[in-house]
């Protein structure tokens, strides 16, 4: 029971953290609230399904191809629909919703609404303290940590990371220092969508696929971002695990928990915000005028 809670919390938390970091990156740099973020995660999962079940290639290669294709799709849709209207925040908002709905409908047309599943990368399980832990669960958790570490290295140790972080802090100053703002935004969009696709790749063997699978994680992802503080990578990381554990505690400990897990997690977010309006690790910005 306790180990079940821990495993579910760790996996759920890692997924939320990965999604939230991608979402918060593009918000931090380009002020784009990309509500289609998890729709790309859904598309990536379907790409892997096609790769493994229809074309019969190894799941590992299917995942790489999916990440590449979805990143490309993300960049194309950014150039076509988001970039021309970036100055109008409200318009960007509903353009991303419309994009998410369009992707969902396309998937619905191609694959119908049936629940599909993808074989796991490695089979079998091991027993830890008399609790069955599937190897795939361990792999998912490990992969999520590895991606987070790689992202941390990219942001903190490379010149590109420096450009991204400085554009997030002060866009105008970064432009004055000779950084190509629109190119940084483009690259960040690529990284962000790539992260969504990677998240889809690591979680897909553990879930069932449906065209509507993007909605629940999107809401939790936004809760994580708000809880941790907008644009703060550390905050998204901490917030992801807090809400992941909160959900798994509610599911295992409270009767009817499966219905209430979202409610409890979101109530935690609201409680934190009432005490700290800028989120856990967010910086209280001077009022933007």
């Amino acid at each position: 029971m306790i180990l079940d809670i821990i495993i579910n919390g760790l996996i759920g938390g890692s997924i939320y953290a990965l999604l939230a970091i991608g979402f918060s990156l593009i918000y931090g740099i380009a002020r784009i609230v990309n509500l289609a973020h998890t729709a790309f995660y859904m598309v990536a999962s379907y790409c892997i399904f096609v790769g493994t079940s229809k074309l019969g290639i190894h799941p590992g290669w299917a995942m790489l191809a999916a990440v590449f294709l979805v990143t490309l799709l993300g960049l194309i849709s950014y150039k076509l629909f988001i970039d021309p209207i970036r100055e109008h925040e409200a318009a960007v908002l509903i353009a991303t919703i419309a994009l998410a709905i369009a992707l969902q409908e396309v998937m619905l047309l191609i694959f119908t609404g049936d629940y599909l599943s993808v074989p796991s990368l490695i089979d079998g399980y091991r027993t830890i303290f008399r609790v069955k832990v599937f190897n795939q669960q361990m792999l998912t958790f490990g992969a999520a940590l590895a991606i987070l570490a790689a992202l941390w290295l990219l942001l903190k140790k490379t010149r590109l990371g420096l450009a991204i972080r400085s554009s997030a802090v002060a866009r105008e100053v970064a432009t004055l220092m000779g950084m190509n703002e629109s190119r940084v935004a483009m690259i960040t969009m690529g990284i962000s969508v790539g992260l969504a696709a990677l998240t889809g790749a690591v979680i897909v063997p553990l879930t069932t696929l449906s065209p509507f699978m993007w909605m629940p994680p999107m809401i939790m992802m936004m809760a994580v971002v708000v809880l941790g503080g907008m644009g703060s990578i550390k905050g998204s990381f901490a917030g992801g695990y807090i809400l992941g554990f909160a959900e798994s505690l509610v599911v295992f400990l409270i009767p009817m928990g499966a219905f209430l897990k979202g409610s409890v997690a979101l109530s935690i977010m609201i409680l934190v915000l009432v005490i700290r309006p800028q989120g856990l690790f967010g910086i209280a910005f001077e009022e933007e005028r």
């Binding site: 918000y27 629909f81 409200a90 908002l93 709905i101 708000v226 977010m269 915000l273 800028q278």
Partner: protein, 343 residues
């Protein structure tokens, strides 16, 4: 008597007929009110009733989020609270619709106060994403206590708004026209100007000695009231209040309508609902492609008119006089009031 009639006619000619947008509003009122004379097709009336209900809903979003800039992504909360309260009052207290709908709207005002108070400290995107959470929390509660709320099935078997489809049509249409006019009047009043100012620069408004907290709460309550009425109407028209009224897609749809039509106008969202909702019905001929077409229409229209459809059209057919700021038909060479040259 004749004098007043002639005066009225002069005002009508000088103030209404000179501007295409005002003529359009007049025609809109007339067509809606006289439509049953031409056709009483129950399907057509049904679509128009739902359109009217959602027009109130979209305009109420604009009143809060468009005018004060408090982006509310959980507007379905008001709709759902209005619908569920009206349903519970109707079923258990046996109140007729004319009693349960306003009381349901008051419950939505209460909901506006409850979510407004914690949200006052948040701004911008934080506010948007936090408000998104409230209907989802309520939905979890609805599912967790099915003995009261009916769970997934909702509360069904409510009283009809009136005896006939035609009666329903006139009640909802007249209510829609009336409530939207009231909302438009509110935004045109002193309060409305303060709402505008809060969106543009809240700090400056506070510096001017205005209690912005109170006005933001007022906006939440007003918007909740109108959205609650639309929720109650919806529940009584469909005769069911179900969890679909609280869904995320409901909150998103109202944002899509309002931004598509052009925010900070009230008439924009109303017009957008009257365009998009029947359009969605029209796409029913190709059921698989329905939502896809809807999404694509929005994406492409936004590419060319990021400020919304109606302000774009209005800018094409009317120009503002550079000297006296009065609007003129685009075909005029000089201003109709101060005769300054228009360009």
């Amino acid at each position: 008597m004749g004098f007043y009639l002639r005066k009225l006619f002069t005002i009508f000619k000088g103030e209404v007929l000179v501007l295409p947008s005002r003529v359009a509003v007049l025609l809109f009122f007339l067509v809606l009110l006289l439509l049953p004379v031409v056709s009483q097709d129950p399907y057509l009336l049904r679509i128009l009733i739902l359109t009217s209900i959602f027009a109130i809903f979209a305009a109420s979003w604009d009143l809060l989020s468009g005018f004060t800039g408090q982006m509310n992504f959980g507007h379905a909360l008001f709709f759902g609270v209005g619908a569920y309260s009206a349903a519970l009052l109707n079923l258990h207290a046996h109140l007729p619709p004319w009693g349960s709908i306003p009381l349901g709207a008051l419950a939505a005002v209460l909901a506006g106060l409850i979510i407004g108070i914690p949200c006052l400290r948040l701004r911008g995107t934080y506010l948007a994403l936090t408000t998104l959470a409230f209907p989802i929390i309520l939905m979890g509660v609805v599912f967790a206590i099915p003995q009261v709320t009916g769970g997934e099935l909702g509360i069904s078997g409510l009283a009809r708004i009136s005896g006939s489809r035609l009666g329903d049509y006139y009640i909802t249409t007249v209510l829609m026209l009336g409530l939207c006019t009231i909302m438009w009047k509110i935004t045109d009043s002193n309060t409305g100007i303060i709402f505008h100012a809060i969106r543009e620069d809240e700090l400056a408004v506070r510096t001017a000695g205005i209690n912005t907290t109170r006005y933001k709460l007022l906006a939440f309550c007003l918007s909740g009231f109108f959205a609650g009425i639309s929720g109650g109407l919806y529940a009584h028209f469909m005769r069911i209040a179900g969890p679909s009224t609280l869904e995320v897609s409901m909150s998103f749809t109202v944002v899509i309508w309002a931004i598509f039509g052009g925010i900070v106008t009230i008439y924009g969202p109303v017009a957008a609902v009257f365009i998009l909702f029947p359009l969605l019905e029209f796409f029913r001929f190709w059921p698989e492609f329905r939502m896809l077409m809807f999404a694509l229409v929005i994406l492409f229209i936004l590419l060319y008119m990021p400020n919304g459809l109606i302000p774009w059209i209005r800018d094409k057919i009317e120009t503002e006089c550079p000297r006296c700021k009065i609007r003129n038909v685009a075909t005029r060479k000089t201003c109709r009031v101060c005769t300054a040259a228009l360009d």
